[in-house]
Assembly symmetry: D3
Homo-oligomer: 185 residues x 6
């Protein structure tokens, strides 16, 4: 079970209304390389890991990704919360407003609803860990693309931190993958 | 952010391999009335609640539903973990095994991958709270249907407890809904 | 069965080519809170209502929603029918034209095809009626959002009327819900 | 707009609980060749027909298909309404019951929710009419397949009638197609 | 099996960065009337054709459509490959870049991922061939719409050629359809 | 472009009607780890590889996977082609027959239509290659699971060969990945 702590993993404080950027940023909430997909993938796959080391790592990273989901939600919330209808129209967010006002909803950058079809659960620890390494690499790239598209330091800061976490996770998954390759039949 | 505690909200200990039942039970993990849908709905909608009371309630229940997701995952895991291939075939879980071995993956009872299209985020607290009341009623009914289909007390116990929680949540959402109807413009 | 009457439930006569607005308006045809979803939900759920009163109400409102579908279709048709290719490009409807010319197709505001995953059928009258109340509230909010985004009286008129119908339906569903809560075991 | 008449286009009276067959039959409600898809396709496409003849034909057949939807719903309802939980389990409808009790919901034979992605709207009358001819042929084949799978005359009767209507519609669409090919630039 | 030949069915050489057009053009890669859908449809349906003539025709056209897929991929690749981030932003391709950089991915013009739900396989040669005729007509129309939207001769050339192939295929499917209508029971 | 050669990559000759197995086998045609997904992934991703070595490898393996698609199609076709309606019913393939007769259609083992949402295209060669390594591992596991479920040597033979190819591909992707890590900025 989880205990919620009213604290962000990394501080989010966006001062400028960078409304247009919300349309791209949301893909790291609900897109194929997004944090929701990561959290659900790991918290789902942990059950079939062959030992406590594997189960603990998947739980640990899955749990951290839940915190990343919250970071993305908070960034999106801060971007939209004080926008007027005129600002929303000017930024081309008319469709967002029509369906969700200033609320957020997990989609990709085209507005397509998140689906768990984006991840796989093979039930095999080796295959699942390669999938997880791929997931971290995909997320890293999308963070880099997002950073290419903005120059707001309030946004770039958390994105750089999140990108760095993907690299850390990749390495931890790789280490476990190599351990299981060597030690698990 | 979340702290993971290695403890179940309600104890799960399934002793009989009730494999066939896993095909129905999984809908409360990844189906339209399932716990994953509930957790994501509330943890998503909490941002647009107009005051701390609303945000706290949505966070609190959303967090509890994460624990329910874990209960469902654990039930499914225990049902499958020691099954032989012959037992799997006899129970008609050949397709499950082919794609996921003894792993679990959030689908409905037909094997359709979970999608957030099952919930809505209108960005309006009143409308979202009625949606939430509906969600709790739908989950309650599906738990009752599942209980109709089994006589294993190790399964019925947790399902009765989960059903009871839906009723509690319905009432808490209703109370907040009525408070906002009276007090929020 | 149905008899078609060549008459609109509420008159539609849009004089200005408000092309850009079509992209948002279409969500009330094929989006999660749209009229097609409403019509199909009620005409599907009516079968499990426990008495004639329930079956009649669901049939009656479902049937009215079919007429609302036609109103939305007509609004979209009138917005697009005389647009030149240049006007279409200027309004940013290039993708619409590519795939449908000036035709209409039930999607949400992002162009995602309508799916019945947006509604539920639990087979339980109480749970289905709370779902229906939520549906009416969600549709009301989306109409209000659309009205925020336009100032064309030819569009606002029908939208206000449609919004009003959602309130009426909400109340009728609530009344039936309370009657069944009190009278049906 | 539509007037509902409490009358079936063709009488439905199923006396035997042919529960297992419901799993196949439902595809003609919510599958790719089903009646819901037909009704929505024609009632959507009618707007871009170049003259009253076309608009009237699409409206007329679309309207009739709405009545076919009701026939399918009624057949499914009659098959399930008096089934006990034991009969449901024996027929392998456990998943149906879990999610919908004895209610019905528009899916294909695998339980996949209906989506309008099954039909197209090109906005061109010629292309849309060939699509419509294809739709009628696909529906005819699925009715023939269903008839192959049952020997219950209460079911075969309506299916034969529905199959016959597909042939009539095919011919009417073909006639209009040829007329437009010859007369519309 | 297939042998790949490093040669385009029709030469593609796009000199201007017509970035904005990529958003529409992609639908003929991964949309409902696109070349990927055509190739998969025919290469899937060929198995149930009743004789070698049918199997050969479906294989032959299916194979040609694979080459069309490659033409579309190449057009999209050439449109994007040298674009700077600033040009991408100006053309409104921010979301594309975020998720795919300058890579391509089979979607429709709204960014919705390709699904085989766009085609049907009835297992009946007559019905499948009418579906195929419809497919060719739909593709022809979308090519015409795309040509309406651009004036770049490097783009129009291949699109005109592709449009012409749809007409040829329509006629070949029609011929086979009529042959089977006359000769196959 | 492609040249079709009327020859199988590996001979398929299934003598026994192992109808029931078709329901599982089909996932390697149209499921998340299936050959269609592999072929489309590689033939799509090849464009963004930074040099000829990468483009050639992706094209080569993508092309081979097209041949694997054909092997799977042929296996499924041979399993079904001579089945009587009674045999189909006995094997529990009623739903398959209803919708596709003895035809085949790319789905997973639950009958869910194939979607390209199962693969990603990041536009980055490093991330795409890790995704490709994961894909090969996932496919290998599913072949192993299928082999666990049957004892028919006519089926096991091709599956063992296909499984072996996944291992070869994994190694070739890994080699390229390491080369790019060392040599591409």
């Amino acid at each position: 079970m989880w205990l919620y702590e009213k604290k962000m993993e990394y501080p989010i404080e966006i001062k400028n209304k960078n409304l247009k950027f919300a349309k791209q940023l949301i893909t790291q909430y609900g897109g194929f390389a997004g944090e929701l997909n990561a959290a659900l993938r790991y918290l789902n796959q942990r059950y079939i890991m062959p030992d406590n080391r594997g189960r603990a790592l998947l739980t640990d990273i899955g749990n951290e990704e839940l915190g990343h989901v919250e970071m993305l939600q908070t960034m999106l919330y801060q971007l939209l919360k004080d926008a007027t209808v005129d600002e929303i129209k000017e930024a081309g967010l008319d469709s967002w407003y029509t369906e969700h006002k200033r609320g957020i909803y997990p989609t990709d950058a085209n507005g397509v609803a998140y689906t768990v079809a984006y991840f796989a659960e093979t039930g095999d620890p080796i295959a699942d860990l390669v999938e997880d390494m791929a997931a971290e690499e995909k997320a890293r790239i999308v963070y880099e693309n997002l950073i290419d598209l903005t120059d707001d330091p309030d946004i770039i800061g958390p994105l750089l931190w999140l990108r760095q976490r993907e690299i850390v996770h990749f390495n931890r998954f790789k280490e476990l993958y190599e351990y299981y390759k060597a030690n698990v039949k």
